[in-house]
């Protein structure tokens, strides 16, 4: 595990401009592999364009109690970027005035934002259909002040989506840090005990799997079967669905790919696995990503690359769905991560 974020270590790759340069260079600059733009064009797509807004994905801040090896946010305890209540108010206004049916709260550890509970209460009062909190699990037992979160989630019908890279301790701890597996299992048991993920309950508990290394996820259904069997047999744990997510070559995962000399092979794998059906369904077509400071992005990955939406309206305070629909989604080679194989999104596979 990297003990510190790229930013804390003052790594050159902490700068999104450097990451974008890296992604544009090498095999993509000399024509050995097609750029994402060229690949889309070959399949008759000049641009990716947004459709109707369905999901408002909000990054409540980059602070996290974990420092995961693969984190695309470069989150960690040293990150102080946190969304204010004023910006949250502006997000709630968009929820009230658009047809977005899903609110997807992420981070960092979104629970560490001091206004997190207030925000969930307000969104619940508005009546958003699917209120997702992306929880890293260990936050639920990190500190006494978080112990009652499972009950809080239940009271507000929160849909909990949690990361779980493997059903074995070794793989989980190598990706997410020592002791993370046992603490995640403990948190899952607490969530099950209040009714999350158990048979005949409406309380949704989904798990997210992203590979612990330089390889792509295999079939979502097959992996779900393996996860369900192992977690039930070994720990008596239930959950609803498994979402497989491909690691995108940015931030700390990009650093890992370069340092382990896997970058070229990984990019080859992504390009070879390009699936046009996944490309037409990528999440940037129905999602808008809001940064901790209220700026708008096509997705959480573009947010981390500091690629704000290609439009004169760039902030949640000036959000207009009708106007923002008239824009092209900003793409680079990292986008191959969402179009590989069965596709990848925050809701799992696409095609």
């Amino acid at each position: 595990m990297s003990a510190q974020s790229l930013r804390k270590r003052k790594s050159a790759l902490a700068d999104p401009v450097r990451q974008l340069e890296y992604l544009a260079g090498g095999m993509f600059a000399d024509g050995e592999l097609p750029t994402f733009k060229e690949k889309l064009k070959k399949h008759g797509m000049d641009h990716l364009r947004p459709g109707t807004l369905e999901i408002l994905q909000i990054n409540l801040g980059y602070m996290c109690n974990q420092v995961c090896e693969h984190c695309h946010v470069d989150a960690g305890p040293d990150r102080k970027e946190i969304m204010t209540r004023e910006t949250m108010e502006q997000c709630l206004e968009v929820l009230r005035t658009t047809g977005a049916h899903t609110l997807d709260l992420t981070g960092g550890a979104p629970e560490m934002n001091p206004d997190f509970r207030w925000f969930v209460e307000q969104a619940y009062a508005i009546g958003v259909k699917d209120l997702i909190v992306r929880s890293n699990l260990t936050i639920l037992n990190a500190n006494k002040k978080y112990y009652d979160l499972p009950e809080f989630f239940k009271a507000h019908n929160v849909h909990v989506v949690s990361s779980m890279p493997h059903w074995t301790r070794g793989k989980t701890d190598r990706q997410r840090g020592s002791g993370v597996f046992d603490r995640s299992i403990q948190a899952l048991k607490v969530l099950n005990s209040v009714g999350y993920g158990v048979p005949d309950s409406d309380l949704q508990l989904d798990l997210v799997y992203n590979p612990a290394g330089a390889f792509l996820p295999a079939g979502q259904q097959d992996l779900e079967k393996e996860f369900k069997k192992a977690l039930l047999e070994d720990f008596g744990i239930h959950f609803n669905q498994l979402f497989t997510i491909t690691n995108l070559p940015i931030s700390r995962f990009l650093e890992y790919l370069i340092a382990s000399e896997n970058y070229e092979d990984y990019m080859y794998s992504l390009v070879e696995a390009f699936n046009p059906a996944a490309a037409t369904n990528v999440m940037c077509t129905n999602t808008i990503s809001v940064g901790w400071d209220g700026y708008l992005y096509d997705c959480d990955f573009n947010q981390m690359l500091d690629l704000k939406v290609d439009h004169s309206l760039k902030h949640i305070s000036e959000y207009r769905e009708d106007l923002l629909a008239d824009r092209n989604i900003i793409i680079s080679q990292h986008c191959y991560g969402c179009t590989a194989g069965a596709g990848s999104s925050c809701q799992g596979t696409l095609a």
Binding site: H166, T168, F215, L216, P217, A218, G219, L223, D265
Partner: protein, 111 residues
């Protein structure tokens, strides 16, 4: 031209064998892909068999390919190593069972 007979980068060029014999190349890959589809055996079981055979055949490309394939399928390193031992056991068994032939011949030739 590479100075070594095996270049890891050649694995991703495997598909290019079709360029010099399109019909046979395509038939081979069609067959290959069909073999690994879900059938009476799961793709996961097939992946472990492929890994064991890759070791017995000592094909570096196949070892790279099916180690990665196993990782993608969530196959653990313990499962992978057991599969390699299955291959090794059959290989050494195949050597040792010929010992019976040696014993037979020895007995026949000896007074």
């Amino acid at each position: 031209m590479s100075k070594s007979y095996y270049d890891p980068a050649d694995l991703r060029k495997f598909g290019s064998i079709t360029e010099w014999s399109e019909e046979l190349g395509e038939k081979f890959f069609e067959y290959y892909n069909k073999v690994f589809e879900e059938g009476a055996l799961s793709p996961r079981e097939k992946s472990l068999i492929a890994l064991a055979v890759a070791h017995v055949r000592q094909c570096p490309y196949c070892i790279d390919a099916y180690t990665k394939d196993g990782l993608q399928r969530g196959i653990t390193k313990e499962e992978m190593m057991e599969a390699v031992h299955v291959g090794a056991a059959i290989e050494s068994g195949a050597t040792l069972v010929h010992g019976v032939q040696m014993m037979n011949k020895y007995k026949k030739l000896s007074m």
